[in-house]
Symmetry: C2
Subunit: 402 residues, 2 copies
Amino acid sequence: MTQPLLITDIRLPDGARVDLAIVDGRFDAIYPMDDHNAHRQRAGWTHEDGHGALALPGFVEGHTHLDKTTWGMPWYRNAVGPKLTDRIENERQWRASSGHDAATASMALARAFLHAGTTRVRTHVDIDTDAGLRHLHGVLATRDGLRDVLDMQIVAFPQSGMLKRHGTDSLLDAALREGADVLGALDPAAIDGDPVASLNLTFDLAQRHQKPIDIHLHEPAQLGAFTLNLLLDRVAATGMQGKVVVSHAFCLGALPDAERDSLLTRIADLRVALLTTAPPSVPVPPLKACIERGVTIFAGNDGVRDTWTPYGSPDMLERAMLVGMRFDLRRDDALATAFDCVSSAGARACGFAEYGLTPGARAELVLVDAETVAHAVVSRPVRKLVMSNGRIVARDGKGIDA
Amino acid sequence: MTQPLLITDIRLPDGARVDLAIVDGRFDAIYPMDDHNAHRQRAGWTHEDGHGALALPGFVEGHTHLDKTTWGMPWYRNAVGPKLTDRIENERQWRASSGHDAATASMALARAFLHAGTTRVRTHVDIDTDAGLRHLHGVLATRDGLRDVLDMQIVAFPQSGMLKRHGTDSLLDAALREGADVLGALDPAAIDGDPVASLNLTFDLAQRHQKPIDIHLHEPAQLGAFTLNLLLDRVAATGMQGKVVVSHAFCLGALPDAERDSLLTRIADLRVALLTTAPPSVPVPPLKACIERGVTIFAGNDGVRDTWTPYGSPDMLERAMLVGMRFDLRRDDALATAFDCVSSAGARACGFAEYGLTPGARAELVLVDAETVAHAVVSRPVRKLVMSNGRIVARDGKGIDA
């Protein structure tokens, strides 16, 4: 039982100046700021002066690959070919030859996320017939090591496809037994070559373990739409409404408006959520159309500085900025929507519990010097304070170890 | 006459470890690193230890609007409508009502650019019949104040159009007499409504003053291509090869490949350069196709945190990163091309003289902890040292005033 804490003089995203009481790792109450209030006079409370900083909820990284990163390692010189299969094969060779260890790599990056204000992470972990569950075991160790301060969901992800390499489904089954929270999947048509068989196997596995699904769908335009409809059929048939995320869904950026909108309506009805990294070089699901039709859309980095990509950052405010730029969001109210993609929408889509700047939720917040949420997104200021589960885990941009 | 300076132990972009001699504000010689070299023993030289840092040439901001920025001012809450005319009108009202002063604003942002490593800036300054030359005078004061450390080109830019507001051409004429270096222009069809008359007037003015042209061309697809061909006709007719920049040129991202490529060939033949901000939400001239056809393409922010846009940064490494992401450049060699857009290609396109990490050029460089140029672009590290004209203007991320 830690001492109760009062963070005084902070501004909420709506502009209200408040004091925030934290008891046993949870937000206990929000008090409008008033020097004469009795809540500041209570005995036994620690006070932390917010100095008028803007308080943001802890950030949500909705889609990354902690097990792939070179974060904290020497710079990886990328000379990889341009095809998806080039990148998959190159990575397998690099992992084999570099002495790469998913536990060390994922811990370095997970800590960087946390210290920059991210308190919830969904990470996809490669499961394949070469590596087996090795990467999963590494990331499970990181999750365990950070259990008190970082809420991590692990997706068992068949990076090399599920049908093409015999035995991958058994490994995914084992991964779900050993602690993976979500079943992953990858391009049932373009990679697996048999969308019906691939999706059936995925839904069977998920049903058997009562786990949600998060599928990487890179398939373009009409092919992607075909696969997406097959997937939605199975969401309806299995009663998995609210339990499925489609990551990337590039096809939704490349269909005629009418076809796209009717798909979006179906997606909304089945409470399937969409994850985007807001990549500037390919079509993406249109943010505004998604939100207007009631589809939850949220954001993540995808890989951070790995053999696939040199880009990515543990700063989710930067990802929010990239979302804002991708969809040309310029007004303050529009940029607040970009921030939602790395906070409340991500929590809702992934099912992260007890989230938000609200009494009863876990005490996770980030203090920054910024006038509005939009200002924080574009300026990405130093984190004055990061709190997770009631613990201060970073101050003035520097991590604090427990 | 300052003391000659030897910067020891730095790495050039090609990986060579060298010492760099600077005399009278210029690079004098590059010595392969060797402790026994006589150049380190000379009397009267100051030494600066580079500690193995990567040396980059000073950065080039190829297109910004220093006179519009709110940099250094309180956050501007953007609630502006979506149309080009909304933004033009909103800005005019804001400048009138906010007490905005182009001298103060441009100085704050120009210094931020300099301290982040930018030594050359091309800035477009609004000239219109409301403000007259007021903004120009403000930016001229900033240019004068930073003359010894920042090479600034001023473009006289008719932000509200040239033909529609009577007297704008006379103001542009006056601006070129009073110190503007380049004649600007804006959408001869979409804004001025008469592409032939608008372009004729622009080329006449430029010819009369013997000044280069830099035109904002936002016009879409076929309309933009039509205007662009009219412009190229006039480049050929006036002998202005090598003296014209087309900024944005969105149309080149939205034409059928064959039509686009034939336009690019013509652009290359006439030595017209293209400026892109690499915006993720609209079509852009394709970087690879431009370079393959010999077209110089370079980059800039456009506005930085002004009433038009909340985005933009004085860190040109960030712009290089956005260029890299826009064109999906992942390999180290490809990211070096993105860096060229904010360095050598920009200098070449704008005609910035005596540029580069080479003997005889002005001593402008940036030292960062990074293994390769690509690493610097994606990590945007603290600037360990920024030198301009042989003067150290920033250290460890902090500006040093003369």
